[in-house]
Structures are given as structure tokens and as C-alpha cells.
Symmetry: C2
Subunit: 407 residues, 2 copies
Amino acid sequence: MSIVVHKYGGTSVGTPEKIKNVAARIKKVRDLGNQVVVIVSAMGHTTDELIALMQKITPEPDPREYDMLISTGEQVSASLLAMALQSINCPAISLTGGQAGVQTEDIYRKARITHVHLERLQKELKTGKVVVITGFQGIDSKGDIITIGRGGSDTSAVAIAAALKADVCEIYTDVDGVYTTDPRIVKEARKLSFITYEEMLELASLGAQVLHLRAVECASIYGITIHLRSSEKEDQGTFIEEAKKMEKKEAVRGIALDENIAKIGVLKVPDKPGIAAKIFTALANEKINVDMIVQSIHSSGSLADMAFSVERPDLKQAVEVAKKVAKELKAENVVADDDVAKVSLVGIGMVSQPGTAAKMFETLSNEKINIQMIATSEIKISCVVKREAGKKAVQILHKAFGLDKVS
Amino acid sequence: MSIVVHKYGGTSVGTPEKIKNVAARIKKVRDLGNQVVVIVSAMGHTTDELIALMQKITPEPDPREYDMLISTGEQVSASLLAMALQSINCPAISLTGGQAGVQTEDIYRKARITHVHLERLQKELKTGKVVVITGFQGIDSKGDIITIGRGGSDTSAVAIAAALKADVCEIYTDVDGVYTTDPRIVKEARKLSFITYEEMLELASLGAQVLHLRAVECASIYGITIHLRSSEKEDQGTFIEEAKKMEKKEAVRGIALDENIAKIGVLKVPDKPGIAAKIFTALANEKINVDMIVQSIHSSGSLADMAFSVERPDLKQAVEVAKKVAKELKAENVVADDDVAKVSLVGIGMVSQPGTAAKMFETLSNEKINIQMIATSEIKISCVVKREAGKKAVQILHKAFGLDKVS
């Protein structure tokens, strides 16, 4: 008997009718002889409605009370789904995160799950019941209700799957998988059958809307395969899993475009140990998230140029911080530009295929797309280009690396 | 430092604005140096809305899942009230029934509270926080969420007040107290300053809409004074408490009219031991609630007449049961009438004032109101009269017993 873990997002349980559809799907899986655990999000816009109600009381709620309030949405959808299952003769029980043994850190609104106590869950499974668990929440050491960050139900599902040693955690959503790139940019974009955890994390901008990244991180730690798929169709979606399970022949697996960036350069800094630390500590103190960091060697030998990218809304503040530090460091000047976009190739196979970067640069060059910044990791190459060239870059790279062809 | 327990019903916390008003009232009480515990119902029609949503899934929900669903309403109002308190600089924390240590029987939807574990509650009170607790719910031995019957928040409040040995449990509602009779029938109806538990229970038809009767029962067991009052005004309401604390000079304290009854007579039954048992066991087996039971002596000596009243909607079924039993008992016939009303005088002082019944009958007689059935207990006299005479009976009795005069 296999243990199957399903997770359904807010859209998938958005109406009583949709809840009944989900129940019918779950019943089929159970009737095949599986033990089934289901994690649910709050129905549709429930969480937003609770927040709107809260705003009428206070704009700055106490985090503990916020969790107490916001966790009710999942309790509603979980009990309704259990009722829907029972009404089609499928034994079921709903459990809150706390009842299901989901233990978290003692931090409100964004705790991490520390442990899943399985006693109650396993007891209910043994009686043949489908166990429906409220996503996005657990309890802390005081017994307080704790939420784990917006979108956290994915992480709940993976953590519970890991604790149960389930083979797969099926995450049902309103898209049918992970694509080689955004299908709105490249119409030949292809659904990937498989992708590694690392690739999924690097493709954040493709995946963040459909999958909570902490869920991927958690799955990679515990070796849980995530099957990301549509709650409307029966088709297979994308399996997110360990590299060793996968074919590696394609060096490049996906292409991401990020138009929400801006670049800053601190130029001609006298090259001494500690200049990078000074700049990025100052930015971190202001809670400014830095993405790419590039330090190049300046022709003068005793001077360095330091370039980095930030999220576009942070540009103004980041420039102020950079100017202040530049003065201390006696840098010549600070330049900034938000008319840029970042194009990234991601693929775990790139490690063993050194020609990928060269091919990327050549492809862009052939189309007269100028590269302003380059950063590389073992499984990702990112280029900053002029903003207007971003989509074009994705399209030609998608073709050049054969992502439009079924492998 | 006193412990003060407040309970606010759904209407009193029906909107964010009303929640803020309640918070302001609570802060004043705390600022006087009291330890304050607040029990809240769900906002306005939340519970009904959850039930309507549920009906779209299934008309017959599992009781456990029903409790899981329905208990979320109080969690929303409790967290919002805690936030409202915090936003006006009044330290506060919300607790679910389970977190507050409210232990119930292992019965869904209608459990009784068995114990209140005070550890967490007292810990929070010691830090100076107002503790806001979800009414209407607790947890059972398995840690499942259990509700205690519609309107159960009053009982939650009294049970928590009893556990904390609070002097008074203040129940805030949308009426300002208990009246000598329904003010819609008698415009001179007067708010009672005090009433005993027993009187309140007997005045069920006056009080049921404003106060859960199990709360009164619980208060009488633990000697908790209930102060029933308006959440809109600062005026004192009605204190419901032990007889010994009260002046007893008024024999009659209140008059209730029940128009939702019907009477049935099983006539000329051969008088043998066990006939009453036969009739009322048969009715109980059909879950028919019997109110008044009157057995009179028949002139024949060897025959008895048995009369009783039921709730009007149960009449048809009750007659069928009565006819069946009548046949077995060889009774002559069964008569039924739903064109009746019951008028009851209630007062703990009646025990020591034997003229009350006579005065009641004479008053009705003077107005040519015919009495069809009489039943008496130590603190209540009920007469069944023609339905159209019910209101008139209440009006003349209210005047005759001086209930319109401030004592």
C-alpha cells in the first residue's frame, strides 16, 4: 500500500463545485488501494478577504493574532473537503496543522517546520480514512497557531510527505507544469517532464508563481519527488526530483527572463581587501536584496569596478547607499541603470558542457544584442541586456539551445 | 485585583466598527486595574454563512467536520478583537477554546464542558494581558475541536468564570436585561434588576433568545452571578443570581407567554398503574417533547383523563402516537387543540405566598378568560387559555401583580 500526498491550491478548491471535483479525484486514488493525505490551501480569495477585514481594525496587526486569524481559511476548506469526501462514501477526516503534528519554530508568520509528529496522522490512515490537513500552518512549542509564509501550503505538503516517507508529493495547481520558458514570450515553450531541484530553484522567476521555493528546498533535503500538475486535467505535469534520476543530455533546461531588475556600478574603487564587504554590508543593513554581483579587474591594476543588480523598486535607495560607501572608499563614481533585463540559462548539465556560455554569448552577438553584465554559477548563466532586448534574447536562445524540440 | 469575565454576542462584534467599540469598553475595565477575560461569539451571521456554504457540499455533514468548520467563526472574531485591543495600547491575546484549556466531553456538536485547565489562561493574565477566548467551543480528549451547541458562548463564559472564581460573568447582548414580560405585549413591562437562576430557567420563553439556558444552569451550579446587559449602553442590566442574595418581597417576578403549544387529551382511560408511563414513553421514543402534564381525577372514579401539551409543530405526530397508545389502554378517545396559549407566572417567592394561584385564576375569570388546563410547580403557575386570549391575559396579570411598579 502506497502513501500518496496531494496538495490543492486555493484556486483548485475555490468553490463548492471545485471541492467536489477534487473529492472525486481523491476518491479514485484511494480506491486504487492507496493511503491518501491531502493538504489544502484556503478557498480562492479567502485569505485576502480576511486580510481586508483585518485592515479595518488595524494596519499593523500583532503577528501572533495575524496567524490566529489567517489560519482559519484552511480550516474551512479542509473541513469542507472532508465532508465532500464523506458524501461520496470516501471515509475522511480533516486535521488542523496542530492536530496533524506539524511542529514549527516559535516565530509567527514565517516559521519553518521543524518536525511532523505522525502519531495521529498514522492512526487515522490505518483506519482507511483520507486525511485532509490544513496547509500553511502548524503549532509552536506553546501550542500557538503559526503560519509559515504566504504560499506555504506547498511546503506543508512536502514536509508531511517527507515525514511519511511518501514516494511523491503531488502538487495540484492551475498550471500544468514547468515550462522551458514563459509561453507568453516563446510560443514553442515546452512543458518539461523532469527538472532537478537546483534547476527549479534557479528558475525561480518561472516557478515562483506556481510553486513555493521553500517547498523545493525542503524536497531536495529529504529527497521527495514533487509532481507539479493541473487539478483540471489528468495529464502528467513536471516531476521535480534529484538529478541522478534524470537524463542529463540537455545542457540547458530552461530560460528565465527577469525584467524587475536594475544595475548599479561603483567604479574605479582603489582595490583593497574588504571593499566588497563594505558595500554589501551597507546594502544588507538597509534590507536591500542584491542579486548578481560582478567584480571585474580594471585595466589600471590598482583600481576595481564593482557591479551588482537589485530589484527595480529598491534602485533609488540602493544608489544612495552606494554613493555613501563610494565616498568612504574613494571610488570615482556610481552609475545606475534600470533600463535592463536579465536573461538566464539554467541546466544542471551545463557543468559538464563548457561550450554553453560561449554559445549563449555568440547567439546574442549574432542578433546584435549587447551584453552589459555576466554572472555564472555551475548551473546558471545570467546576462544583463538592454530591457527592450530581453524578450528577443529569450526567443533566440530558446531556439538555439533546441528547447522547442521534444527530447 | 478582580477577575472580570465579559461575553460579547455575535451582534455586538458584528462589524469592525463594533469590535472597536467593544475594545474601548474592555480597555476601560482593564485600566481600572482588573484582570479581564473576554469570550466572543462569531461576527454577525458568520455561522449561518458557514452553514450555507456547507449545505452546498452536503446536507448531512459529519458532526466532527461540522465542528471543525463552524468553530472558525469565533477564531476570526477573537483574533480581530485582540488586534483591536492592541491597537489602542491594551495588551491582549486571543486563545482558541483548546488553547484556553476548555475541555469537553467526546461528543461533537453538543458536548458539555467538563473542565477548564487554567495554566495558560492564568499565565497570560499575570502578564497583564486581556485574554480573548473563542466561545462555543473546546477540545475533547483526542484534541479534536468540539462545539457545545448553538448559543453556547454564554455557557463558555460562565464555565470560564466559574473556573477562575470570578465574581460576575457579564454577558453583553443586544437587549438590556430581563423584563417582567415581553415589552411588545405589555408596554409597562419593567426591567428586573435581579432574578434567580430558577426564575430565569422558568422564564425560558422570555429569556431563551437572550441567554443560553445551559449557561444559567451552569451558573446556578457554581454560584456565578450573571450580569445580562447591553453592549450599547453603560446602564446596569439584570443580575441573575442565587435567591439568598435577593429581596423576595415580590411573589411574582415575571410573566411568560408561549404561543407555540398545542394540547392533547387522552380521555376516560381505565385508571391502572402505569398508564402515564405508557403514554409518555411512547412520546419520548418519537422524540416528542412534552411540556405540561396534567392528570385529573375523573368523576367516574375508575377512569382518568390525561392531558398534556407539546410544541405546536409536533402536534400531528403526537396525536398519532397518543391514538395508538389510547387504543392499547382502552381509552375512550383522544382530543387535540392547537388554538391555545400558555400563560405562566414565575417567581421564587410564590412558595411562601399561597394566594398567588387563586389571585391568578380570579384575575383571568374577571376578564372572562376561561382556563383550560392548569399546571403548577413551586415557583411557576401555568394556565392554558384560548390562543386569542393569551396576550390579554399577560396584560391584566402584569397589572394585577404590580409588575409595572418599580419595587
